[in-house]
């Protein structure tokens, strides 16, 4: 596949992620912060997000698995995940966290377990999407092309 085709595929794919709500404008901020002095900035931040999130999801799973659930602790973890997903523009993960926190407040064990499943699902979805997008970028760069900047109408 030639570079122009790959670039068009990347642009379409990235746009779809915004359209489907996986990513929001904050992700554009990340891309805008990337420059020649730090060409791997987005990859680095996204990798940090993956590591951080997986640890938090593990902590959440353990916390909700306790015979007596410490909802304050659960809420603290969700707050962290909400913050980091918001910082990178992972909108659906962030929204799932917001719902999660309201059930933590109610100390509703069934609802919070469902929320955890929901957050995990959204996380793995966006992880997959981001990895695909970054792979497409890598292929373009490897073929000598440049990453096109996304122009969004909204």
């Amino acid at each position: 596949m030639e570079v122009g085709q790959m670039q068009r595929r990347l642009v379409d794919y990235t746009k779809s992620l915004f359209m489907e709500g996986f990513l929001d404008a904050q992700f554009l901020q990340l891309q805008q912060l990337q420059d020649e002095s730090n060409p791997d900035f987005v990859v680095e931040v996204v990798s940090l997000f993956f590591d951080d999130s997986e640890k938090l999801l593990n902590d959440l799973t353990m916390a909700l698995d306790q015979p007596s659930v410490d909802f304050k602790k659960v809420d603290a973890h969700v707050h962290q995940l909400k913050g980091s997903s918001s910082s990178i523009g992972a909108q659906r993960v962030k929204n799932a966290c917001i719902a999660f926190r309201s059930f933590c407040e109610e100390q509703n064990i069934d609802a919070t377990l469902r929320c955890l499943q929901q957050v995990k699902q959204e996380y793995y979805l966006v992880k997959n999407k981001l990895e695909t997008m970054l792979r497409l970028e890598q292929q373009i760069v490897a073929a000598g092309g440049s990453i096109p900047m996304i122009e969004l109408g909204f």
Binding site: Q26, Q29, L30, Q32, L33, D35, N38, F41, E44, V45, L48, F49, D52, H79, Q80, K82, G83, S84, S86, S87, I88
Partner: protein
């Protein structure tokens, strides 16, 4: 670079006169740039903030907790910066602005704010950041002496507010 074969810890060799001049020039240039101390327990937010600030050519020091910030400022043991003899060479450097997250375990952003405002660093502007838009929290921080309260995630467009505070902090004779 050759691998060090020696078991001994390698000491930094003394800089040559020309290098010394370069080091001094670098330090002078650093002194001319604004220096921001950024405090946040989130590794992602620290990275973002650092990039955002460096994009404006500010010098940035990131720490991961309120305690680390107090340590950096020489306030950890209630001693003034001048009297605390720390090994850190950066203790001599100025700080033009402190940006801190509000919700941090241990010493919170608000605790840090109060400690700073009650110390010899009280004239350094402090900006408190939070992902939550809670009016009572905002007024508490502003009443506590914060110059500004900013919502996370910070954007490039927020930089002008930061610059305004830094310009205000310039020393006047």
């Amino acid at each position: 670079m050759e691998l060090m074969k020696s078991e001994n810890i390698v000491q930094d060799r003394q800089p040559q006169p020309q290098e010394e001049e370069e080091i001094m020039q670098q330090e002078e240039e650093e002194e001319q740039r604004f220096h921001v101390l950024a405090v946040d327990d989130s590794v992602i937010d620290r990275k973002l903030l650092e990039k955002l600030l460096k994009a404006s050519s500010y010098q940035v020091t990131c720490v991961e907790s309120g305690e680390k910030a107090l340590e950096y400022l020489g306030l950890l043991h209630h001693s003034s910066p001048a009297s605390s003899s720390s090994q850190h060479h950066h203790q001599g450097h100025k700080v033009n602005l402190i940006m801190t997250d509000f919700s941090m375990p241990g010493t919170s952003g608000y605790d840090l704010l109060k400690r700073i405002k009650g110390s010899s660093w009280k004239d350094v502007p402090v900006v408190v950041m939070s992902s939550e838009n809670v009016p009572s929290r905002i007024s508490m921080c502003l009443e506590g002496g914060a110059e500004e309260f900013m919502l996370k995630p910070l954007q490039l467009s927020d930089l002008h507010k930061i610059q305004a505070h830094l310009l205000k902090s310039l020393p006047h004779s």
